[in-house]
Amino acid sequence: MIELENLSYTYGGGELLSDVSLRLQPGSFHFLTGPSGAGKTTILKLCYGALLPTTGRLSVFKQDIARLDRDQLALMRRRIGVVHQDCQFLDHMTLAENVALPLTVSGQIDTAQREDLSELLSWVGLGTRLDSHPPELSGGERQRAALARAVILSPDVVLADEPTGNVDWEMSQRLLRLLVELNKMGKTVLIATHDMSLIRAAKSQVQARVLRISQRQVQLAGADL
């Protein structure tokens, strides 16, 4: 589904990633861990085409990402749901409009979908906040809303960058449960986190692999959980 082959990435003259090889199989659940600045976010950005590798090959849905034009890249991103640590909402739009943004940009929105939106937001516990604006939401609510937006197009892959970075333990468990639920629906999930307690908590819920970035390379961190 997503395959990095001998990939390296250089930024500002320094090599952030070196000779990275990684394969995410359909329906798999991966944690990507490592210290801050190790390159977790960079790998996620490479996976959805926000960055291009300096050398090596990156294939997403069997397409070489370096060969995609901007339109093809946009179509590819519709198959990948991304949850950012800072969520990135459009503050002038309501929560419902923000969550429906992937539908809007892909021309799939219609008037009958407010009920579907309500159902989706109820799934992440925000069923009553449809008309709220992002600045009115707490950190945890924003993370859950970002997750709802990430899955609204029913993507094949969900990438989450420190999804529990700004929330308390209870909320992080709630988010983890939602991500596990998505994985059980057949979605490939990759979570970048430095929160080891989150990884330990996932042990009882899902068959996950833990990848660790160390010295600019990605390694399997011990046995599978």
Binding site: Y48, R70, A74, H92, L153
Partner: protein, 299 residues
């Protein structure tokens, strides 16, 4: 750019348009610039059309008219006038020729000397109005013949002073059109700057839209529509104010000359309606070009 793309660019899509924040100084800037430019364009258009009318009028009114002036002692004036009329009646290319009456000559001089001019006490030359006919007048031949038969006659075909006037009016008309082009160019430049500023200010929104799978054409359309409609409405207001200004100008009259005729006539009143459409078209192209460039930079 295909017709389908242009149609989709102009078609209102409320949800898609919402992705660009509705306010910001670029919104006011675009409205103001397009309004001000449309206001100026109305006056430039009025100037151009009025100059064109003037050039045409001077060109046509004077082109077929020639004046014969007879300066002779009072006791020979009637004889020379009679002789001149005889020569003119025998000259091919003259449709009609008639001596101006004393009242008509007094009327011509009254702007300079007042209405109570005692013409009979002044050595005023006799004027003969000649209207050209087919196949046209041989002015040089006529001058030679008049020189021989009517020694006090001077033929004036108006060329000497008519051509510079007509050329001046044509130059004014060209100046008007050049002004309109410059106004269009300045509008395009200002809207390009405003669109660039708006795109730069909304870089984070563009990033979010790309994150959720928006194509560049979708993002560009949202900005292009916003600027096109703003430019259109700004121009509508500018045109309405400009037209009001033109309406308040004094009406054309013979006494007032060129300046009082500076307005629209007949179908000319419809032409300013094209200004908002052209303004919107300029904004459309300027924003589309700016957005395409900026989105490429931001990728």
């Amino acid at each position: 750019m295909s017709k389908g793309m242009i149609r989709s660019l102009l078609k209102r899509d409320t949800r898609a348009d919402r992705v660009v924040p509705p306010t910001g100084y670029t919104a006011h800037l675009t409205l103001f610039v397009s309004g001000a430019m449309a206001f100026l364009a109305v006056f430039a258009l009025a100037l151009s059309l009025a100059s064109g009318r003037l050039a045409d009028r001077w060109g046509t009114e004077l082109a077929g008219a020639v004046t014969l002036r007879i300066s002779a002692p009072a006791d020979q004036m009637d004889a020379q006038t009679e002789a001149a009329l005889t020569v003119l009646s025998q000259t091919p290319g003259i449709a009609s020729a008639r001596a101006l009456t004393t009242e008509e000559q007094a009327a011509l001089l009254s702007p300079w000397f007042g209405p109570d001019l005692p013409l009979d006490t002044l050595p005023v030359p006799q004027l003969i109005e000649i209207i050209e006919g087919e196949p046209g007048l041989d002015a040089a031949g006529l001058r030679l013949r008049l020189g021989a038969e009517v020694p006090g006659a001077v033929l004036d075909d108006h060329t000497r002073w008519r051509e510079p006037l007509v050329e001046a009016a044509r130059s004014l008309r060209r100046l008007g059109w050049v002004s309109i082009l410059l106004i269009g160019g300045a509008t395009a430049a200002m809207i390009t700057l405003a669109a660039n500023a708006s795109l730069a200010a909304n870089a984070q929104i563009i990033e979010v839209l790309r994150l959720v799978g928006a194509r560049d054409s979708f993002i560009a359309r949202a900005f292009v529509r916003r600027f096109t409609y703003r430019a259109f409405f700004g121009a509508v207001v500018g045109v309405l104010l400009g037209m009001t200004g033109v309406l308040l100008l004094p009406e054309a009259s013979d006494a007032g000359g060129f300046l009082t005729g500076l307005g629209f006539q007949g179908y000319g009143w419809l032409l300013p309606a094209l200004i908002p459409v052209l303004g919107a078209a300029v904004a459309f192209l300027a924003t589309w070009s700016a957005a395409s460039r900026k989105l490429k930079e931001l990728s």
